[in-house]
Symmetry: C2
Subunit: 266 residues, 2 copies
């Protein structure tokens, strides 16, 4: 089973859009996929047509802070595609768990209580490096970083890498960065190609270092800007079902194939 | 003096880009403007060419948590345009201030220590509804909400309005929502015009209610998607100086005029 966290503290870079559509593409390929929404905005939950913050929808906060088990929190949204919903309570996790010694590993501990029959677990993180993202990194084996090819987006890379390294060293030695995927990409823009070169140089230069990103790369697939990706959430379904022939569907199928073919330590 | 908070917990909607360029446009019009970076990503600080997290740059965290005064934290970046830098420590504010009874008003209390000679104070908020955003709302008289005309972006409106109302009722009775500004706007997209109608309907229907958004509106200015806005941060200056004739510069000058002409209670 592979556990992949889609994280980046920079807001609006396409974490949720990538987690949903990569998850859906892996499920389409026949893999059993569980998506977990760790963001109090509950965008992943809504994206897939599940109603957050209502009585009938179990959520991950109840698993972390109360006695709900993971199997009780799972909702099926499509063949091979299951979801654990987020909730607005997640915004209080940093304060709720502040005094607990296991605050950084509670997600992993609750998951360990009963192994789940999935090939992939996909974690959508909030735009921050707080306790929920740390919990995602403690559970995950791999990190995928959605990023826009913009100057402001590159600024946050150092802090992101430091956070991943700190979790790897203190909490989760198997944690690795699989790579960066450029989203809303426009190849005609000079700045975009400068960012590509800078990222390629950075990953090449880290090959010899013993860091969680030594095997990381820039994914060959660039996800192009595509209006269908902004529309599909309003239909409660991935872009693969909303518009199977769109650029968005093609790019996320290609990215899922790249991720599926990565060599990984189980 | 007017204090305006640019906030929206949805990530990547253009909070920083709007705060910087509206601030710069107001300064260009002759107003004395202070920008405060309340985001641990320090994007506003970097956008204006100030180096965050170094010895020689004072920052707002030191004002909030230590003994630095506001006047000591101010850096001049242009005629009429001053900045108080952010820092990575801001990420720990929720935990650092958790036990303090004044944790929601510490920004306002520190500001009250010495009146500052500005016509506008502009606050850039992080993508969350945590303690820093609450502090911004406690100090501010007005809120401007940058928003993309996307389905996922609209989802968060209810929580955003609830947070503003809670702060108005418990901490800051003068707080008002000035309006929503649509960013990265593309008028050719059907979804965009549906969002415009929905927001117009919502604000019209709230006219009679006694809510902090009863006088709010959708700003007439829509900020168009413009590549110059993604490039100007890498030159450490607002788009007004980087490319004065661009759509980005034109839209932000128009928005600043709209904001300047709003009737407001001092
Ligand atoms: N390739 C794309 N083309 C066009 N629009 C996109 C694309 N990817 C994402 N979007 C849109 O951009 C916005 C931001 O994407 P998304 O919400 O997935 O980012 P995020 O990183 O999860 O944001 P947050 O930081 O708030 O969690 C959304 O409105 C989404 O519909
Ligand atoms: N009108 C625009 N046209 C094109 N690009 C834009 C526009 N406004 C903002 N951007 C780009 O979109 C990205 C997000 O903008 P920005 O960082 O200002 O959003 P934010 O809401 O402050 O993000 P965060 O939630 O991370 O604080 C940036 O890379 C910025 O350069
Ligand atoms: Mg998201
Ligand atoms: Mg910002």
């Amino acid at each position: 089973m592979r556990v992949i966290a889609f994280m980046n503290q920079k807001g609006g870079v396409g974490k949720t859009t990538t987690a949903v559509n990569v998850g859906a593409a892996l499920a389409e390929m026949g893999a059993r996929v569980l998506l977990i929404d760790l963001d109090s905005q509950t965008n992943l939950t809504t994206y897939l047509g599940v109603k957050p913050d209502v009585e009938e929808t179990p959520d991950v906060f109840s698993v972390l802070a109360d006695d709900l088990t993971f199997p009780e929190a799972i909702v099926e949204v499509d063949r091979n595609l299951h979801v654990v919903a987020g909730s607005r309570d997640l915004a209080n996790v940093d304060l709720e768990l502040a005094d607990r010694p296991d605050r950084a590993t509670v997600l992993r501990d609750r998951m360990a209580a009963g192994p789940l029959p999935y090939d992939y677990i996909v974690l959508d993180c909030p735009p921050s490096l707080g306790l929920l993202t740390v919990n995602a990194l403690t559970l995950a084996g791999e990190v995928v970083i959605p990023m826009q090819a913009h100057f402001l987006a590159m600024q946050g890379m150092v802090k992101l890498l430091e956070t991943v390294r700190a979790v790897q060293q203190q909490l989760n030695p198997r944690l690795r960065i699989a790579g960066v995927v450029l989203t809303m990409f426009d190849g005609n823009v000079r700045l975009s190609n400068e960012v590509v070169q800078e990222l390629d140089r950075f990953f090449e230069s880290s090959r010899t270092a013993q860091q969680p990103w030594s095997e990381a790369k820039l994914f060959r697939t660039r996800v192009r800007r595509n209006i269908k990706l902004t529309e599909s959430p309003s239909f409660g379904t991935s872009v693969l079902k909303y518009d199977p022939l769109s650029n968005g569907a093609a790019d996320y199928r290609a990215l899922a194939r790249e991720i599926a073919s990565l060599r990984h330590t189980p």
